[in-house]
Symmetry: C2
Subunit: 255 residues, 2 copies
């Protein structure tokens, strides 16, 4: 096996060098860690799966050895395909619902890495392998230039057409309301029932904050038929809704 | 891209034929679905991720188009590496615990595809792509020949050495108690505090059954410090324990 792997690697390298093609063909080829986290011999695909399945929690940064792997994943086809399968499932679920017809059925969306993408920022900042810099990240946010995740926008449009109301529930602060509204509208999210941002006085975890806010939504008469986020703290906790959907995000972890 | 992929494929095939090696080198090469589920254009790796993250639920069988992909995954290195990362994380967690020292700290393990592996059976029955046949599966179980998942056995041994008691909680029926005991002991699981099997009169879902049983465990004075299974119904619900771990299983779904 070792000999075959070496032969294959040399052959691929030769082809790549002779044709001058980009690195994109390495998409999802498993990259073994060579040092630091994850432990020697563990693979970056396994690290990513463990993150997505809530097995590895409370992590600060992407392991150095996986920066390139995560970068290729995020910029390549697999991230989009992974997102598409989740959204297809969500659309099939939404279409199967028998709605109340009273305008009280809502779908809760997280914002960052769910409806809006900060990938342009992270692509220039190590894809989560660098320590988070709130100053430069906030500068990026205040530009209001985050693109939509195309798959989530597709789901959003389907939900609106079905008569399901939209609730955006984000950890972004109230001081970012104006730029968030402008950014959402600019990329195609034109209407919503509620846009819930975090008060600066609220210092609870994302899981507790979002649970409390969903509880308030339900107490004011709404029924949460669906709930989608990229973090487990978006979709665990209480009042999580009738069904939850987890979009991929191997770049950061929010408790 | 197409030309390079073809060259690589032919080269791999040549190497494989000339050396007479197995199919294992095709491990995790993404295979696109060509028909049936998943929808045309969706990838089997994305289907697997969506299953592992609880986005695709209540499914009956592995999509026909993904049978070969799932088979290669289960028999190859990636399944083992994915399991290893989860177990390493669980061991690091267990070692970090401050135990009560009263012998009341327990770890809950599911059995099928968690401590014992039915892979020898599924390898001969379509890796979950064939409709489940309870008759032939029960015949396999009654042989008592299921191997241990090596990673889980490693975790088990570590937990025992730390003084954490073991609770096996399985959907297997009480009528399989003797063969299950013999199978567990034969492959290295020599001791446990409780082995909870399902009574034939209990017709609740796995999620409800397991939540109720964990509640009884806690009510009898134990503290569930960890909980590991291959199904989300093992680790969602109530009384789920201080921390949960999800092992991979793309072969079947239990509600």
């Amino acid at each position: 096996m070792g000999r075959v792997a070496l032969l294959l690697f040399l052959f691929a390298l030769t082809v790549e060098l002779s044709l001058g093609i980009s690195h994109e063909i390495h998409l999802l080829r498993p990259r073994l860690a060579s040092g630091g986290h994850p432990a020697s011999g563990l693979s970056c695909p396994s690290w990513r799966l463990a993150v997505e399945t809530n097995n590895i929690i409370n992590w600060d940064t992407v392991p150095q050895a996986c920066e390139s792997y995560v970068g290729h994943y995020m910029l390549g086809h697999q991230y989009r395909q992974d997102s598409r399968v989740v959204v297809y499932e969500a659309i099939a679920y939404a279409e199967s619902l028998k709605l109340g017809g009273d305008g009280k059925d809502v779908w809760v969306f997280d914002i960052d890495e769910t409806t809006l993408s900060n990938l342009p920022y992270y692509a220039e900042n190590g894809f989560g392998a660098e320590v988070f810099n709130s100053t430069s990240f906030n500068e990026w946010v205040m530009k209001g230039k985050a693109p939509a995740l195309p798959e989530s926008l597709k789901l959003y449009n389907k939900l609106v057409s079905l008569g399901i109301k939209i609730v955006f529930l984000t950890g972004k602060g109230e001081d970012e309301r104006n730029v968030t509204v402008a950014n959402l509208k600019k990329v195609g999210y034109h209407t919503w029932e509620k846009l819930i941002l975090r008060k600066s006085s609220d210092e609870s975890t994302a899981l507790v904050y979002k649970s409390n806010q969903r509880k308030k939504v339900e107490e004011s008469g709404y029924k949460i038929v669906g709930n989608m986020g990229d973090q487990w703290s978006d979709i665990l906790g209480t009042n999580r809704g009738n069904r939850t959907f987890k979009l991929p995000d191997p770049m950061y972890y929010i408790a």
